[in-house]
């Protein structure tokens, strides 16, 4: 696509090359919304065409059908359990995800700091962390089910095993890469190893940990949905895989959209907290 006359007027006047174009805040919102709207429109057209041919089509449900199916899950208690299924699914999944992320972040912080700043610890445990990190976590899932049973523990453990090693290595790498001058300077100011960790390494590791958590969020969802798909009785992943048997796209699609929304919300929260609590780490765009 080449810049046409009509498109140029919607952007601020400026240099002629694409790489130099400046895009304002409102224009960015507008431009970002176009592809999303386009996808929705294409879906609606495809869905209505299928329904014109076959009114009971299940593959591409219309918005009305989705709302009807979802309102049953959101507003009406399940006749068997008495639970509002949508909410209990969300709560169960978020609890597992949160516990997994929390344990992973905490262990990444502690292990990352120690591995990063204490040479003997790095020499001793570095290879172990590296070898755990290369094991495909899903291959361990049967072991986890055998060891921890089919409850939440195994699911949380899968998330932790899946993301913690990568996060540990990331934080440790960041701490190792702190300028040598800073570590020396701190010692000439009288800092002990403990004070170095607490006052120099820990605060500088925090924004990196938040960044690592953001990046681990995607894999964490993958492991959560996989574990829920295989053995569970509640959860967003469980529901999707359960209703798949009835080809209930009117539930699957809203659930997927909901998961995406939750993921974006968590991501925004992490970004916000990093900027709020560690403003020095975002110097360039303060």
């Amino acid at each position: 696509m080449e810049p046409s006359e009509s498109k140029d007027t919607s952007l601020q006047k400026g240099p002629g090359r694409w790489v130099n174009m400046r895009i304002g805040r409102s224009q960015r919102m507008l431009l970002g919304a176009i592809p999303i709207l386009l996808v929705l429109v294409i879906y609606l057209i495809a869905a209505s065409q299928r329904h014109a041919i076959n009114p009971s089509d299940k593959l591409l449900p219309l918005p009305g059908a989705m709302m009807e199916a979802m309102s049953a899950l959101i507003f009406q208690p399940d006749p068997l359990s008495g639970d509002y299924l949508f909410w209990s699914d969300t709560l169960a999944s978020l609890r597992r995800l949160g516990t997994g992320l929390g344990i992973s972040a905490l262990s990444a912080l502690v292990a990352g700091l120690l591995l990063g700043i204490l040479p003997p610890v790095r020499a001793t445990f570095g290879p172990l962390v590296t070898s755990i990190a290369v094991i495909p976590p899903l291959a361990l899932l049967p072991i986890l089910f055998i060891a921890f049973g089919l409850g939440d523990t195994a699911k949380v453990a899968l998330i932790v095993i899946g993301i913690a090693p990568v996060m540990i290595r990331d934080v440790a790498g960041h701490v190792t890469a702190l300028p040598r001058e800073q570590i020396i300077k701190a010692q000439t100011l009288g800092a002990s190893s403990w004070q170095l960790i607490l006052r120099v390494a820990l605060p500088q590791a925090m924004p990196r940990l938040i960044q690592a958590t953001r990046l681990a969020l995607g894999p964490a969802w993958v492991f959560l949905i996989s574990a829920e798909a295989i053995a569970s009785d509640v959860g967003l992943g469980y529901r999707i895989f359960l209703v798949r048997r009835y080809l209930s796209m009117d539930i699957i699609l809203p659930y997927v959209a909901w998961i995406a929304l939750l993921a974006i919300a968590i991501d925004l929260m992490l970004t916000w907290s990093s900027r709020r609590f560690y403003p020095w780490a975002h110097g360039a765009d303060r």
């Binding site: 300077k185 000439t188 403990w194």
Partner: protein
């Protein structure tokens, strides 16, 4: 032994590579020693030895008459060319850091009246280096010169026996550099400092130092460039009396001519 710092026949080798050899040096309290020399002559290695970051392969370093442990400590302050300040702490927090480490071993932070006393001391120190207007800014918001001012304040608050400067103004613009040199000279007199400064600016070495040390290799084997290490080829006191001595001024000219161009990286 009356010297504050004395290096006795110091040698430093990494494997086959000889960095420094036969360095004998007595530095008196109150001296301002400038060290110059071509790139790769082991200036920074010598500084690392005094700092305690490295241990000498041969010889012994004595500080105040006791052998130096190969570990950094609060009796030797340092300012590097870059990365000397903590990016996650404000100017004031950076400066008070040294006091907090000393007085609060477990938390590394002070509270109540101890905290206000420490903050007051830090503010005075920052005032002395001309940073009282930037107490709550982060280093990233400061110019290069201001960051170096902060690094100096941070080191001086510990009242180190020796202040080590590793090309402290090397990354600064010429105008700022002159300001920083004047500041360093003033602090040196006001706080009775003993300073060892590495620089590759020969005029800076002469204008600030009371003594200029030139590190270079005495012998050079073109087939084995690492065979011989650098040592002090000139050790020139610059007291007023001796500056009038024609021998000394001849030597100064000699050093200027030899090293003016070679010391740049």
């Amino acid at each position: 032994m009356s010297a504050l710092l004395s290096l006795d026949n110091i040698g430093l080798e990494y494997g086959d590579q000889v960095i420094l050899e036969r360095i004998n040096l007595d530095i008196d309290a109150g001296a301002f020693v400038s060290i110059i020399g071509p790139a790769g002559a082991g200036k920074s290695s010598l500084l690392r030895l005094v700092l305690g970051q490295d241990a000498p392969t041969r010889g012994q370093i004595m500080l105040d008459g006791t052998p130096l442990r190969p570990e950094c400590g609060p009796d030797r302050g340092v300012v590097f060319q870059r990365y000397s300040v903590f990016p996650h702490l404000t100017v004031l927090q950076n400066t008070v850091f040294g006091l907090e480490c000393e007085q609060s071993h477990i938390l590394g932070r002070l509270f109540g009246s101890k905290r206000s006393t420490a903050l007051k001391e830090a503010e005075e120190m920052l005032d002395a280096v001309g940073l009282s207007g930037a107490l709550h800014q982060y280093p990233a918001q400061l110019s290069g010169g201001m960051q170096q001012r902060l690094a100096i304040a941070q080191a001086l608050i510990k009242r180190p026996r020796i202040l080590l400067l590793d090309e402290p103004f090397g990354a600064l613009a010429p105008g700022i550099r002159a300001d920083m040199q004047a500041l360093t000279k003033r602090l040196w007199t006001e706080y009775d400092l003993t300073v060892i400064m590495i620089t590759h600016d020969v005029s800076e070495a002469f204008s600030l130092g009371t003594r200029v040390l030139v590190l270079d290799k005495r012998r050079h084997d073109p087939h084995a460039p690492n065979r011989y290490g650098a040592t002090a080829v000139y050790d020139l006191p610059l007291d007023k009396r001796e500056a009038e001595d024609p021998d000394v001024s001849n030597t100064i000219d000699e050093i200027r001519n030899t090293y003016q161009d070679t010391t740049h990286d």
